[in-house]
């Protein structure tokens, strides 16, 4: 029988094959975001590829004019649609599994290739006509080889390609292979008319119905493709949005960090600066990245900086904090509060993150405030000091001048002279110790930290103010342990705090003017703390004042009497020594509690040095 092909439909069949291959490859590419998993993308890819092969086949069949009436068995036709879809699905799934690429491709290619071949010959078997089909074995074999080879190459391409043009190229190759196989197989077939060959019973699908089914399948492909495109667009918009959000958020943080007065830097464990916030330029000059952090620290705080890095690198969870002086641009030296956090194990940072805040001005004000307070307190204490000094001075003057007078009167008395000179020398010594105390109190610089016995601070303070309190009719009693109570810090600063508390207590008692005044100082240790309690019977503190008494410039005293700085400075001094101060009402008056960390007798000098670095 002479047969022919409709060239338009043949071209259409090839185009459909390419289109289906493209859609399937794109869908498969999407499914590879979660490889080795059965998902809707893999299923859609199988649907596109299997359905595409089937559509291509039947468009090809419609293009074929066998020269005799042909219809199709509906069940076999349906089977010929389901077979390539499922086999393609299995093939794609196999190649998406983890494992050797070659093994996967061979298995997948065999599966898919035989699926395509099976589809074709099933489709051919579905033909109903008055005759039979004769196959040419060589061309049949060739069609099988083409199907398997095309499938293997197709799957290999599906695994490899990423770019859109690559997918397009692969789709053309795959589409041509599928249609090439079809037309090779068609060439292998010869329809042999046979009048004896009866038409099978039952309803056959007419070419018109087939055309409709093929059209529907092609529509299905189009819809799949449309969804894919829509998804791609949505994805692209989402990615764009996300990128934009990220970009603006990063820009915002960059700007924040750059304009922040704090310098944020990331160091590696050797102390080399890997990155900084951009605000470093203002203080430290332009290029700090790549420099060693220690090179920025001025010599006097090198020790503290080394300790800081060592503690930070040791990898504690908590923040490490130090006050360091940094060599800044233009030869300036600025004081920074440096806080470090170990983020070496955090994958997104892998470094030591340090935040540096310029506290030069704050420190200067603090020192100024402290100094002013000292002056104010010194003025207030001037009367007490004058009284304290007038006694020994008086004794010295009387003794020495009387001695001179007796010599002038010509009645020298060696025994009397010696006695009087001893008194004078002793009193001069007493004056000297008072002077020492005043000098220490008025000193501007903070004294270095040392280990000292709290008992001697209390005794000294009590001695300095005792006489004045006595003349005010106030009884000062101290209750001290018999063994040394050691703390690390500045004894003069503690004495300053105690002086302030005693002077406040005496003011409160004097203001109350009611019965005998009494101040009790008690020293004890509890929970690794050294606790000094100063209690008076001066009437106590009102509850609203209790909340504010440690605020600077808060005072309950009459105008001109109190600076409002005493307790604020005391609070600051105690905290800088690692301790604290609190107030409460107790009995007939106020009770202030001052505490410091206990150092005991074992703490050595090195320990005290450490404490200094921490201040």
């Amino acid at each position: 029988v002479s047969h022919s092909y409709d060239p338009v439909l043949v071209a259409l069949s090839v185009a459909v094959a390419i289109f289906a291959a493209y859609t399937a490859l794109a869908l498969f590419g999407r499914s590879q975001h979660r490889p080795g998993r059965l998902n809707q993308w893999l299923a859609a890819a199988a649907l596109a590829m299997g359905g595409g092969i089937w559509t291509m086949h039947f468009i090809g069949m419609l293009a074929y004019r066998p020269g005799m009436g042909v219809s199709y068995d509906p069940w076999l036709t349906l089977l010929s649609l389901l077979l390539p879809i499922s086999v393609t699905g299995i093939g794609l799934y196999v190649v998406s599994l983890p494992g050797s690429a070659t093994a996967k491709l061979v298995a997948g290619g065999l599966l898919m290739g035989s699926g395509i071949v099976g589809m074709h010959y099933l489709g051919m078997a579905a033909m109903r006509m008055a005759g039979w089909i004769q196959y040419e074995p060589f061309l049949v074999g060739l069609s099988v080889i083409i199907a398997i080879a095309a499938s293997t190459v197709g799957l290999w391409v599906a695994l490899k390609v990423r770019a859109r043009w690559q997918t397009l190229g692969a789709a053309v190759a795959l589409g041509l292979a599928v249609s090439g196989m079809h037309y090779t197989a068609m060439a292998a077939a010869t329809l042999v008319p046979d009048g004896r060959h009866p038409l099978p019973h039952g309803v056959g699908i007419s070419p018109a119905t087939l055309a409709a089914a093929v059209g529907a399948a092609a529509m299905g492909l189009l819809i799949l493709s449309h969804f894919l495109a829509a998804y791609h667009r949505k994805l692209a918009i989402a990615a764009e949005l996300q990128a934009e959000t990220l970009r603006s958020s990063e820009e915002r943080y960059r700007a924040l960090m750059k304009n922040s007065s704090d310098v944020i830097a990331v160091l590696n464990e050797r102390g080399e600066i890997l990155d900084e916030s951009g605000s470093a330029a203002r203080f430290l000059g332009n290029t700090v990245i790549g420099r060693m952090f220690l090179d920025l620290v001025s010599p006097e705080t090198q020790g503290a900086a080394k300790g800081f890095l060592a503690e930070l690198t040791r990898g504690s969870d908590r923040e490490v904090k130090r006050d360091l002086t940094l060599q800044c641009a233009g030869g300036r030296r600025l004081e920074f509060e440096v806080i470090g956090t170990n983020m070496l194990t955090l994958s997104s940072i892998r470094g030591l993150v340090i935040t540096m805040r310029d506290v030069t001005e704050r420190k200067r004000m603090q020192r100024e405030l402290n100094h002013q307070y000292k002056l104010a307190t010194l003025g207030k204490l001037a009367a007490a000091i004058a009284h304290e000094m007038s006694q020994p001075l008086n004794a010295i003057r009387i003794a020495t001048m009387d001695c001179i007078m007796r010599l002038e009167e010509g009645r020298p008395d060696a025994q009397y002279q010696e006695q009087v000179l001893r008194i004078a020398a002793e009193q001069a010594g007493r004056l000297g110790s008072i002077l020492d105390h005043i000098r220490g109190f008025a000193r501007r610089d903070d004294e270095g930290r040392q280990l000292f016995d709290v008992r001697s601070s209390i005794t000294k303070t009590a001695a300095l103010l005792g006489r004045q309190l006595e003349t005010q009719g106030i009884k000062l009693t101290t209750s001290l342990p018999s063994t040394p109570v050691r703390v690390a810090g500045s004894p003069l600063q503690l004495e300053q705090v105690l002086l302030n508390l005693l002077s406040n207590a005496s003011d409160a008692i004097e203001e109350k003017r009611n019965g005998a005044g009494a101040i009790q100082i008690q020293l004890s240790t509890m929970d690794k703390k050294v606790v000094i309690q100063v209690a008076d019977n001066g009437g106590g503190i009102s509850s609203e004042s209790l909340d504010q008494i440690f605020d600077p410039f808060f005072t309950t005293k009459p105008v001109g009497k109190g600076s409002g700085l005493g307790l604020a400075i005391s609070y600051d001094l105690m905290h800088r020594m690692g301790g604290g101060i609190s107030a409460q009402n107790c009995g007939a008056g106020a009770q202030f509690t001052v505490w410091l960390p206990c150092r005991g007798e074992l703490a050595g000098a090195a320990d005290a040095n450490d404490a200094h670095h921490g201040s």
Binding site: S390, Q391, N394, A395, R397, I398, A399, Y416, I423, G473
Partner: protein, 116 residues
């Protein structure tokens, strides 16, 4: 001539001791009291011809002592030896003020001036 009796009122023991030595060496009889109340007690038992007193003392102060002494004897010579600068208004003829630190020569001259 009868020995002049001077009472020294001073809370600081060393000062009291030294003043006593200065005055006794020049032939005065000296009694010491350590505050105003004690001084009044001594004065009642053994009245002095002159009183040298401090102002700031625990218990009864020098001011209160002077007021009390003036009630007993309006013309008793009193020397105030004080470290306090603003010591109130004392009548200059009745009371002489000496500032600490005290010059023993000045004290002796003032005593001589008041008892003559």
């Amino acid at each position: 001539m009868q020995t002049t009796h001077i009472m020294v009122v001073e809370d600081e023991q060393l000062t009291a001791l030294l003043l006593r030595s200065v005055l006794e060496h020049r032939g005065f009889r000296v009694t010491c009291a350590f505050n105003g109340a004690e001084a009044l007690e001594h004065f009642a038992a053994d009245p002095a011809d002159l009183v040298v007193t401090d102002l700031k003392m625990p218990g009864m102060s020098g001011y209160d002592l002077i007021v009390a002494l003036r009630r007993v004897s309006a013309r008793l010579p009193i020397i105030v030896a004080t470290g306090i600068v603003e010591h109130g208004a004392f009548q200059p003829n009745d009371i002489k003020v000496l500032h600490k630190p005290i010059d023993p020569g000045e004290l002796l001259r003032t005593v001589a001036q008041l008892v003559s």
